[in-house]
């Protein structure tokens, strides 16, 4: 019995061993690592696998291998792979944060671009600059952009008897009293208060409003961090030109605005509500719960984000980002793929990269729900996109998404900082306090943050 078992075990080991050896082939193996951004959900993995299979069938020099790691673990796994000398060749899709989290590991693409005379004229030069880092080079090429906009739940507006937000940038909002108002953060606040309702049906503008039993919120910004949320009030960064820590004035205003929205006005889900069942039960998807009136979100939300609303037949639409102090800032997400500097096959990896960014970017951007950065592919994109996500009949105001591209945040809200990982971690701590602590002195806490960022920056420059 025991010998049988041993034999069985040995046999299974031999089979496994030979399987892993059989994987080695004459083609050059190029490993593509997915996990720093989109691409880790079951259905999307399958689509990416099909994309890889298609590439592998299209030629016989390169064997592209897909490695998908759940986002929560992807940073650790990639770190381990790099540290152990087993880094992948291509990494992506990823945003600026993904790139900035791994300093000095990316290959400068310029020599390859020049050697292959790769045509860049189909890209917006500003977007190419997005991936140029002084001292490191061209670390990526534009792949997809994800514009930012307000999504709103039409049923919630109808129930309140409030007119919908404007359809275009520059248009005013006509409120439920017929008053015409600029579409700015002040208007957003008043509208959101009106859309926030407690369990008895009182709204947040009323006297008897019960802050302990809110069932519907007016506004919330989802899926982003401190810099992302504050960019609604203006673009900025925690570091100035001289590498000193700073809190931009608009961000101080913005942090106070959001803290008040959560803990004084209660129209924005605070720490008590943000992960509760009525706000999507920890999935982070507030808008899909049907209990949020307006949500600032990127294009990548489309296609999966509203599945519950769509199945319930609840209509939604897109609106412009409101202005603050007369200025609109619609933060931009732009994804790319990077090649690792330690790759043994830079040419082959570049071949794969150009395959991804060329004609096939049309397929890939639709897998990830992004607007192709390639200008020639943008024509009629939203028609195809709406059809792809089953929304062709819904008459969505896609045009506002395109308009948003004219108001990008510069500097970008994911832009680097000295000791990027440590300073990111530090400001996340402060933001957590803003979200969780109703008694916080926001201005004082931000000053603490500035001082501590300063010492992190000082240590980095030493």
């Amino acid at each position: 019995m025991r010998t049988k078992l041993l034999t069985l075990m040995l046999a299974s080991m031999v089979v496994l061993l030979s399987l892993s050896i059989a994987g080695a082939q004459e083609r050059v193996r190029v490993r593509w690592f997915v996990g720093l951004g989109a691409g880790t959900d079951g259905p999307v993995i399958t689509q990416q696998e099909a994309f890889v299979a298609e590439f592998n069938a299209s030629q016989d020099e390169i064997l592209l291998v897909l490695e998908v790691i759940d986002n929560a673990q992807a940073y650790d796994v990639l770190n381990t792979q790099i540290a152990a000398g087993n880094a992948p060749d291509i990494v992506g899709p990823m945003g600026i944060r993904g790139r900035a989290s791994f300093e000095g590991v990316w290959l400068d693409l310029n020599p390859l671009i020049e050697a292959t005379e790769y045509d860049l004229s189909d890209f917006d030069p500003a977007l190419i600059d997005f991936y140029f880092v002084e001292g490191e080079g061209q670390l990526g090429l534009p792949f997809a952009v994800f514009p930012y906009f307000i999504m709103y739940n039409k049923d919630i507006f109808d129930e309140a008897g409030a007119p919908y937000p404007p359809a275009n940038y520059g248009e005013p909002y006509v409120d439920w009293n017929g008053v015409e108002r600029e579409w700015n953060t002040e208007t957003l606040r008043d509208l959101a208060l009106y859309l926030t309702v407690d369990i008895d049906g009182n709204d947040a503008t009323m006297d008897g409003f019960d802050t302990d039993n809110i069932v519907q919120f007016g506004y919330g910004t989802g899926y982003t961090d401190m810099r992302g949320e504050l960019t609604l009030f203006g673009a900025g960064n925690f570091v100035d030109e001289d590498n000193n820590a700073q809190i931009p004035d608009v961000w101080l205003e913005g942090a106070q605005w959001i803290h008040d929205a959560m803990w004084v006005d209660y129209f924005y889900p605070n720490g008590i509500y943000r992960d509760s069942d009525i706000m999507g039960g920890g999935s982070g998807n507030w808008f899909d719960s049907g209990n949020l009136g307006m949500h600032a979100i990127h294009l990548w939300y489309m296609g999966w984000g509203t599945s519950s609303l769509d199945s319930r037949g609840i209509p939604w639409d897109l609106a412009p980002i409101p202005s603050h102090n007369g200025e609109v800032t619609a933060k931009l997400h732009a994804d790319t793929f990077g090649i690792m500097a330690r790759t043994r096959y830079p040419e082959e990896a570049f071949t794969v990269l150009t395959y991804m960014l060329g004609e096939n970017a049309d397929t890939l951007t639709r897998i990830y729900g992004g607007l192709p950065a390639r200008i020639s592919l943008q024509d009629g994109f939203f028609d195809r996109f709406a059809e792809g996500i089953g929304m062709s009949d819904a008459d969505i105001n896609w045009d506002v998404a395109l308009q948003s591209l004219s108001f990008p945040d510069n500097p970008n809200h994911e832009e680097g900082m000295p000791s990027f990982l440590e300073s990111s971690d530090r400001y996340a701590e402060t933001w957590n306090l803003v979200l969780q602590n109703g008694n916080l002195d926001v201005a004082r806490e931000l000053e603490v943050l500035r001082a501590e960022l300063q010492s992190i920056f000082n240590a980095a420059s030493r």
């Binding site: 790099i82 540290a83 802050t211 039993n213 008590i272 509500y273 069942d277 971690d425 701590e429 969780q436």
Partner: protein, 325 residues
């Protein structure tokens, strides 16, 4: 045959190590043969990585830039011991939680095992399976379940308390993961949920206690609590010892719960700044594996000293029926 019997009875000649008798040599040989699977595995799979990690602690080693690693001697150790206040803060947090959680966890696991071993319990198999069930919940689901059950607004815990008249909801309610006075209680709850293995181990030891012992003591008129104290506890002390060592090591390495439920931020008020959270941030989040390695080896040294102390103390309270006199 006499030789073989000596092997196990172990008649030792009173002369020291030099003059090992043939039977002692034989015994040593067999001992090494028996432990050889582990010993070989240790040399192949564990020894080099352990030494390498100790080596890391003397390097400035950024995970994403392995080529730029450079030797810095004891710089990391000096920073850890004398410059980084977080070393001692996080150790303090770790020990504080361990002192709360360890006794509660150990006693609960033992008492539940006694309950599940009781002859008077109807449907024992079903109860044992159900008490074990939470241990089987995959991590990703367990995280989801706990963050929702403890949610201040819609969580079942607060809704239940609210239903019996305790003010639990809203801004003035019980915010389990946000209140520094409640957080360890919440973590201890969560810990108790995962003690299926400790119950299982206790249970299998309880079943090894010979029933005659109980019967004899019943005849002597000993009550339930005296039997528990005089028979059960000594008889299962070897596995209690095992559970104790593993609990101590587990608590020194306490990490996942604060990492995922409180984001590794130390929130609220630094109460969740555990030592391993500190390690993990340094080694992986900040990619500073050199410094991380020195932290890991510090917790190793502390853990080893506690374990040694436990092993020494075991001579006085752990009863091994098969031990040589």
């Amino acid at each position: 045959m006499e030789l073989n019997a000596n092997l196990i009875v172990g008649k030792r000649r009173p002369n020291g190590r030099k003059g090992m008798s043939a039977s002692q040599r034989r015994e040593a040989k067999w001992g090494l043969i028996f432990i050889s699977p582990w010993l070989i595995g240790f040399f192949i799979f564990h020894l080099v990585p352990m030494i390498a990690s100790l080596g890391f602690s003397m390097f400035s080693f950024t995970l994403s830039a392995p080529d730029e690693a450079r030797f810095v001697g004891l710089d990391n150790w000096r920073r850890m011991l004398f410059e980084d206040p977080n070393t001692w803060i996080t150790l303090g947090v770790t020990f504080k939680f361990a002192f709360i959680s360890l006794p509660i966890g150990m006693i609960t696991a033992f008492m539940l095992a006694v309950l599940l071993n009781s002859e008077n319990l109807l449907g024992r198999n079903l109860f044992r399976t159900l008490f074990y069930a939470p241990t089987m919940v995959p991590l990703i689901a367990a995280i989801l379940i706990w963050s929702q059950v403890l949610n201040p607004q819609t969580g079942w815990v607060n809704r239940g308390l609210d239903a019996i008249g305790i003010q639990a909801l809203g801004a003035g309610g019980l915010r389990w993961l946000d209140n520094p006075n409640l957080i360890y209680l919440a973590y201890t709850f969560i810990g108790i949920w995962g003690i299926g293995n400790a119950i299982l181990i206790n249970l299998s030891a309880l079943q090894g206690v010979p029933t005659e012992l109980y019967e004899a003591s019943k005849i002597d008129g000993a009550g339930w609590s005296r039997r528990l104290l005089n028979i059960t506890l000594p008889m299962v002390s070897p596995v209690i010892f095992y559970n104790l060592v593993l609990s101590v090591v587990g608590l020194l390495q306490y990490f996942i719960v604060p990492w995922v439920l409180n984001g590794g931020s130390g929130y609220p008020e630094g109460t969740t700044r555990f030592f391993m959270v500190h390690f993990y941030k340094q080694a992986f989040t900040f990619q500073n594996m050199g410094y991380g390695a020195s932290l890991a080896w510090l917790i190793f040294i502390i853990g080893l000293m506690i374990t040694l102390a436990l092993f020494i103390s075991a001579r006085y309270w752990v009863y091994y029926a098969g031990e040589r006199n």
